[in-house]
């Protein structure tokens, strides 16, 4: 009996010692690493955004790996929560609630339906939501939407940049006929007010040509377009509908040179049209394409070449990959400002202020210089027009911004409607 009790006692002592040692080590480990900052990328990997989300998310993850490999944000590592929402609002809500419970201070849904559903929630919970190239355009109004950051050119700004390009590089706007061909959804209609207002000011004609969702059959629409005989065409779709638009336009005798597209047009789409056939198509570009910029070079060096890349190496430098990198570059910059100016730990309200401290940030040439203020969450609405040359995208202009007065009229009008419950 005594013997057994002795064994028991020594066993207890051993366990206690082990526990002590473990907790001691854990304590040390915690002291070395600063508290992580959690970003939640709750995106649509299986629904309708699959055309962009894989590359986009790969860029985001690679950039964060690069940041973590080079010392984190002022010593704080960034933790990512990546989940699929399937573009379903109710799954987005679940993923969001879970992420917030796990301490996320920033969410990115990359899905307009989900982001729209989440706007009231993030405003209430004081969690930053970035809505680069998706979501509500009027969220650029930082006073009405304090926690929502479009941070890149909204669809309104994209339309105004394309119009500016026509004005300056394609022989002016006056007297022209511009057809706006779009997927029949709120997203497709979004630029129409801007184009109509511009048409009135600059004296050109705009006509709307919707095609039914999902857009894999557009012949009827394009024969209407041909009959109208426009000088230029803006195409507003995403994913599978885009190459169909260009192909059907060419078949209807519209020169690819006269086609200007929303940001959603990538190499894969051009492959479907035919690299040669699509020569001359122009597109709004929100970031630089390719691997030449220092940021992408650094990712190559510290992440990809060490075999830690998130996905297919071929995607590195593609349009959507670079957009993903740019969103995270701006977010990390905001987190840095938050720690520097308001101190760790980073919370939603501090991160929001960090975003609003971003001034002339261009991620070393990857993106246009953005300046975010308390009022302007769009960052200026910069972008450029690039042209498909047969094997790549060639920038046609510098980073430009255009007619922001009209864009802001639209933003403020919509923001006012949001306050009234729309």
């Amino acid at each position: 009996m005594i013997n057994r009790r002795g064994v028991l006692r020594s066993a207890t002592a051993a366990i206690a010692a082990a526990a002590f040692a473990v907790s001691g080590f854990a304590g040390q480990a915690l002291a070395q690493d600063k508290q992580p900052i959690t970003f939640a990328l709750l995106q649509d990997f299986t629904g309708v955004y699959t055309f962009v989300s894989n590359e986009y998310n790969q860029g985001q993850q690679d950039y964060i790996k690069m940041v973590n490999a080079t010392g984190g944000v002022k010593g704080h590592p960034i933790e990512l929560i990546v989940r699929d929402t399937g573009n379903e609002p109710q799954r987005g809500i679940e993923a969001y609630n879970r992420a917030v419970e796990e301490g996320a201070v920033l969410v990115d849904f990359l899905s307009t339906p989900v982001s729209r559903a989440m706007v009231p929630r993030v405003l209430e919970d004081e969690v930053v939501m970035i809505t680069a190239l998706h979501g509500r355009g009027d969220a650029s109004d930082g006073q009405t939407f304090p926690y929502v950051f479009p941070m890149m050119a909204t669809y309104w700004s994209q339309a105004s940049v394309l119009a500016k390009y026509i004005e300056e590089h394609m022989g002016g706007l006056e007297g022209k006929k511009i057809a706006h061909v779009f997927i029949d959804s709120p997203f497709g209609r979004e630029p129409l007010p801007i184009l109509r207002e511009l048409a009135e000011r600059k004296g050109f004609e705009v006509k709307a040509f919707p095609y039914p969702s999902p857009g894999n059959e557009q012949s009827a629409t394009w024969s209407d377009v041909r009959r109208w005989g426009p000088d230029h065409v803006t195409i507003w779709g995403a994913g599978g509908g885009q190459p169909v638009s260009i192909r059907t336009a060419i078949r209807n005798g519209i020169s690819p040179k006269d086609i200007l597209s929303v940001v959603w047009l990538a190499r894969t789409d051009m492959r479907q049209v035919g690299f040669e056939a699509a020569k001359g198509v122009k597109r709004f570009a929100a970031t630089a394409t390719g691997r030449d910029t220092p940021v992408i070079q650094k990712i190559m060096e510290t992440v990809i070449e060490k075999g830690n890349g998130t996905g297919d190496m071929e995607n590195v430098g593609n349009v959507y990959y670079n957009i993903g990198v740019a969103t995270m570059a701006a977010s990390v910059q905001a987190a840095e400002h938050a720690i520097e100016n308001y101190g760790a730990p980073v919370t939603g309200p501090k991160l929001k202020k960090g975003f609003e401290d971003i001034e002339n940030f261009n991620a070393q040439g990857l993106m246009p210089p953005i300046t975010i203020t308390e009022k302007d969450h769009q960052g200026g609405g910069y972008g450029r027009v690039s042209m498909w040359t047969g094997d790549g995208w060639e920038p046609q202009t510098d980073w430009i911004t255009a007619y922001q007065d009209i864009v802001w009229e639209e933003i403020e009008e919509n923001a006012k409607q949001f306050e009234q419950g729309n």
Binding site: R91, R98, R116, P186, N414, F418, N422
Partner: protein, 357 residues
């Protein structure tokens, strides 16, 4: 052993016609209701607002649809559109200052009116042709919402649910919203169970099984088909309003898209056509299982047990989900409700299986 029938004597007709004549079933139902009532105390915010609440709302919708598809046998592939009509009507009415309680009725009536209009097609066509007619409804309603800014709420196509109160309780916090959904689901549960044992329900079943046979025995097929569409659409419209006010707090057209209609049909089929408990199980399967599977796979990947690409990681839950649907259909084509019934029968005689005939 459980669900024992021995010793249960029905001495009155009313006693025999009770909703739950077997005491064990009654206690079980009361137990589930008690759990539902205590849920805000028992589970955390995350599970209350992201799992239980949507589950109840989707169940209510599935119950409304199962009345039409399961009991009356009329296929409907545009049920999300019915709910959209209810949701938009309720929001517009409350924005005009109509009290929420009346707005709910208005939502139901509007959905019922438009739903019966398309349901009228059922008077002439059956089966797959009826599916086409209801699909047309889905697309027409979608199109109208998107293209009429006065309905959808302008360029952003979002309408926020105004802050309202239901019978004096403000519908703004999670707990009140949960109880609102619970109340509606509980009401529908009892309502559908009662319909199934009423003359109306039996007439619907007769129409489902063979409409001209029903006509021969004196059921007015014209009337009952329309009534089925009217009732089901009414309940669907109110469920849509409950969805908008208790859960989403804002409506957008995508929340009521064609995919959502298919999900409702799947809930009813997987759960078991015409079954009340099947609606609960089907809604859980279609709504919650993908979320649970996604979190499970993501958890495995985060802990390093599964090193796969993000793309594959997102698609594994889909594969598992598909495999489960096939497995359920193979092993029990009558749905989850039948699996529950089998279990119940098993436990009824356990441990004396030999007594089962």
């Amino acid at each position: 052993m459980f669900y024992r029938l021995a010793g249960v004597y029905h001495t009155t007709y009313a006693g025999e016609r009770k909703l739950w004549p077997v005491p064990a079933d009654r206690w079980q139902a009361l137990g589930v209701l008690a759990l539902g009532l205590l849920a805000p105390l028992l589970v955390g915010d995350l599970y209350l607002s992201s799992y239980l609440l949507p589950w109840l709302v989707w169940t209510a919708a599935a119950l409304s649809l199962t009345l039409l598809m399961g009991v009356a046998g009329q296929l409907h592939f545009g049920f999300a559109a019915v709910m959209a009509i209810g949701a938009y009507t309720a929001i517009h009415l409350t924005r005009f200052g109509v009290p929420f309680e009346i707005a709910l009725l208005g939502a139901g009536l509007m959905a019922a009116a438009i739903g019966s209009l398309f349901g009228a097609a059922a008077l002439r066509v059956k089966g797959l042709y009826l599916v086409m007619a209801t699909l047309a409804m889905q697309y027409l309603v979608d199109w109208t919402i998107i293209n009429v800014p006065a309905i959808s709420g302008g360029a952003q196509a979002t309408l926020q649910a105004p802050e309202v109160s239901f019978l004096g309780a403000p519908m703004t916090n999670d707990t009140v919203q949960y109880y609102g959904a619970l109340l509606w689901a509980a009401f529908l549960t009892v309502f559908i169970m009662n319909i199934k044992r009423s003359a109306f329900g039996r007439a619907l079943v007769a129409v489902r099984d063979k409409d001209f046979a029903a006509a021969v025995i004196g059921v007015n097929v014209f009337r009952y088909k329309l009534l089925a569409f009217f009732t089901s659409s009414f309940l669907g419209g109110v469920s849509g309003a409950v969805l908008a006010f208790c859960y989403y707090e804002a409506v957008t057209p995508e929340q009521f898209s064609f995919d959502v209609s298919i999900q409702f049909v799947a809930m009813v089929l997987v759960g078991g056509l015409g079954s009340v408990i099947g609606a609960y199980l089907g809604a859980a399967f279609v709504l919650l299982l993908p979320i649970v599977l996604t979190n499970l796979v993501a958890g495995l990947a985060d802990s390093g047990l599964l090193t796969i690409s993000q793309n594959l990681q997102s698609h594994i839950p889909l594969m598992a989900y598909g495999a489960l649907i096939i497995a359920f259909l193979l092993f029990e084509p009558l749905g989850l409700a039948k699996i529950y019934d089998n279990l119940r029968n098993y436990f009824r005689v356990w441990p004396f299986q030999h007594t089962r005939n």
